[in-house]
Symmetry: C2
Subunit: 198 residues, 2 copies
């Protein structure tokens, strides 16, 4: 590459997930050849996002306001609280389901071996919320992994301690999915948690 | 998404080639969760690249200097001039072959239907260079596509008119394939066994 700055751009692009040396190069050439205005806009938005996007005080999701739009909305059902591991999980639920309650984003999962306990996930704030009354059901939508299940178990006990009903979305084979193409983890889980045919 | 700024970031990321809504979203979450420093660096380099990277006066490749490092190098063989369609093609040749001559980047190919003629490719500058003497061989490494071949034919005539020997990299490049994606070995072989354009 005859431009050191272009080389720097290619390297900087590699922080993006799934972007290897070849695609970083293609991206750099593409924006310089065809979309300098778009690249300038991206540079600006990216800098602003890094500076201004923090976490919502109430649900810990990404937000550039102290309290996010969902938490401050008047049209959500405040009796329902759904706990997820990541902002991406929260978005997937929001986009796929008709859920109209509130969320709580752990930004992780309990993982004692990695030193991630209740304090690291801000669970004292969640507990205060459950203790404060007003929440009738805690929907625990952590992932069906070993750590996700352990986290779900912990959260279930926490909910019961404060008189809140814990629930868990059903896990299993996707509707309309062919058994052959279901990933091993899902299939295994679906098999273990089989129910009697009635 | 509960943050409008995050939504803007996801949209801005979509200017990158091969980035759909789902991967833009994953990229945005990834940098905010795990690499804010990298994102800040990317924003800075991107803004600087858009502002400062223009084209080399001599070869039309990307460069933040009036004349790029390759063109101003004392160790290149100035008797050899290789014409390519894009900066990515130039880089592919530089990385795969032992070529030590100079380059000329068309930034396109002749395409009358799209209104791209000799003027749009800056061919008067290339012609002036061939007319000026000093170039013994013009290696025409346009893509083996219909338009690339037509461009090669035009350039071949241009070279001969000024007493410069035109050549074309040899077989090995798949017909209809794009030079940028040809594997290094094939490209290297094709380059060494280039033949004179007839
Ligand atoms: Zn919130
Ligand atoms: Zn140059």
């Amino acid at each position: 590459m005859s431009s050191p700055l272009l080389q720097q751009l290619v390297e900087a692009l590699r922080i993006l997930p799934g972007v290897g040396p070849k695609s970083a190069q293609r991206m750099a050439y593409h924006v310089l050849e065809r979309d300098r205005a778009g690249a300038e806009r991206l540079a600006g938005v990216l800098a602003e996002a890094v500076e201004r996007i923090g976490h919502c005080e109430r649900c810990r999701d990404f937000s550039e306001q102290p309290v996010c739009a969902t938490c401050s909305s008047a049209s959500r059902d405040t009796q329902l609280l759904c706990v997820v591991e990541t902002p991406a999980d929260r978005l997937a639920i929001e986009q796929a389901t008709g859920y109209r309650g509130l969320y709580y984003v752990l930004q992780g999962r309990l993982s004692p071996l990695d030193g991630i306990g209740p304090a690291e996930l801000g669970l004292e704030r969640l507990e205060a919320r459950l203790a404060g009354g007003g929440v009738a059901e805690l929907i625990i939508a952590t992932n069906p992994t070993v750590e996700g299940e352990a986290t779900a178990h912990y959260l279930g006990q926490l909910a019961r301690r404060h008189g809140v009903r814990p629930s868990r979305p059903a896990h299993g084979m996707p509707l309309g999915g062919e058994l052959e193409y279901v990933d091993r983890g899902t299939l295994s889980h679906a098999f273990t948690s089989r129910s009697e045919l009635t």
